[in-house]
Amino acid sequence: MNIERTALFQQTAGCEVSHMPDGYVVYQSDREMVHYLNPAAAMVYELVGQKQPLDGIADYMKASFALPATPCNEVVACLEKLIAENLITPC
């Protein structure tokens, strides 16, 4: 999937989120699915909810984790997984 650097996504409606010390548990009642997001995925999910584009998410992750390079590929991979699980959708 080709994700534009300025693409915006939104959290899918109907998801119930529980904030755990080591990540998020997300429950989708309509699919009766439960997902566990590790801290990095939880951060991406949260930033999507704040209407951050891919660039903004990657820059934030770089600063938060003190990374030497901007993790664009990793953020794209995470967004693709969240899309595949219908946790986020394009705006």
């Binding site: 119930e16 989120v17 529980s18 080591d22 548990v25 997300v26 429950y27 439960v34």
Partner: protein, 274 residues
């Protein structure tokens, strides 16, 4: 709940649901329920229903009311279909599909003096698990696996016929000479049971994700706050040691599980597992 019966005959019939454990850490409110004779039937007025019928019909409704009350008392809690060994260091939960032999195993352990606190449901409320108080429901076939004197104890217990007319006995853990304590504690071990009837029992560590996946079909989530309840379930599994027990010969299973209730450390537990 204290059920008042109109006569000895009704009291003997209702004894099937008698449950009288020691409750630790909870303030218990007593609810008095009165059974009245009505012509050839019995009547029981519950806070949410009026029931008329035979003693088994009233018992079904009492079970329903007790379960509904349990859910109301623990909003947001998850009900796990499983049995409990109550140990001071933390509860040991036994989870498995129907027919895997969970009750038979726990009954066998109780008959050997182990601290079995429940064999049906566990209430997981935040980090604490509480076995839901209910006596063992023992089918005729399980008697073959018990020591003779323990089988005799079961045979002297109250019973009701199942759909096939075979007796199902109601047995309190106290009948085997031990205390029956209900307390909210963290979970120290989660044991996923699979059946290997007639074969050797085998115990092995399993990955926590696998344990959680196997637990999920055996839970009843609350109506609201499911994500939080699932989070608590995940935390419970993450903090516990997780095991798979292929339950064959009961004496094998008892031997494999013994370190869980002794002071064995983690190295000894792993060494003892198959």
């Amino acid at each position: 709940m204290r059920v008042h019966c109109p006569n000895q005959h009704t009291a003997e019939a209702m004894a099937f649901i008698r449950t009288d454990p020691e409750i630790e850490g909870f303030e218990c409110e007593r609810t008095d329920l009165v059974i009245e004779p009505v012509h050839d039937f019995l009547r029981l007025v519950l806070p949410d229903a009026v029931v008329e019928g035979s003693a088994p019909v009233l018992m079904d409704e009492l079970h329903r009311y007790h379960f509904v009350s349990t859910l109301a008392d623990h909003p947001g809690a998850t009900i796990i279909h499983g049995g409990t060994l109550a140990c001071p260091a933390g509860h040991i939960l036994f989870i498995g599909d129907k027919g895997v032999g969970k009750t038979t195993l726990l009954l066998y352990l109780a008959a050997h003096g182990w601290p079995v606190a429940g064999d049906e449901h566990v209430i997981l409320d935040g980090p604490y698990a509480t076995p839901r108080p209910r006596s063992f429901r023992v089918k005729q076939g399980s008697l073959n696996y018990l020591p003779r004197e323990s089988a005799d104890i079961v045979l002297r217990s109250p019973w009701l016929p199942d759909w096939n007319g075979s007796p199902v006995y109601s047995v309190s853990p106290t009948e085997f000479g031990q205390r029956w304590q209900i307390a909210a504690r963290p979970v120290s071990h989660v044991v996923m049971l699979t059946k290997h009837h007639g074969g050797r029992s085998q115990l092995r560590r399993i990955e926590k994700d696998a344990a959680l996946e196997q637990t999920l079909p055996n839970v009843l989530l609350p109506a609201n706050g499911r994500a939080a309840a699932l989070g608590a379930l995940r935390t419970m599994v993450s903090n516990a040691s997780c095991w798979g027990l292929r339950s064959g010969r009961l004496e094998d299973s008892k031997r494999l599980l013994y370190p869980f209730i002794s002071d064995a450390n983690e190295a000894e537990l792993t060494r003892g597992a198959a």
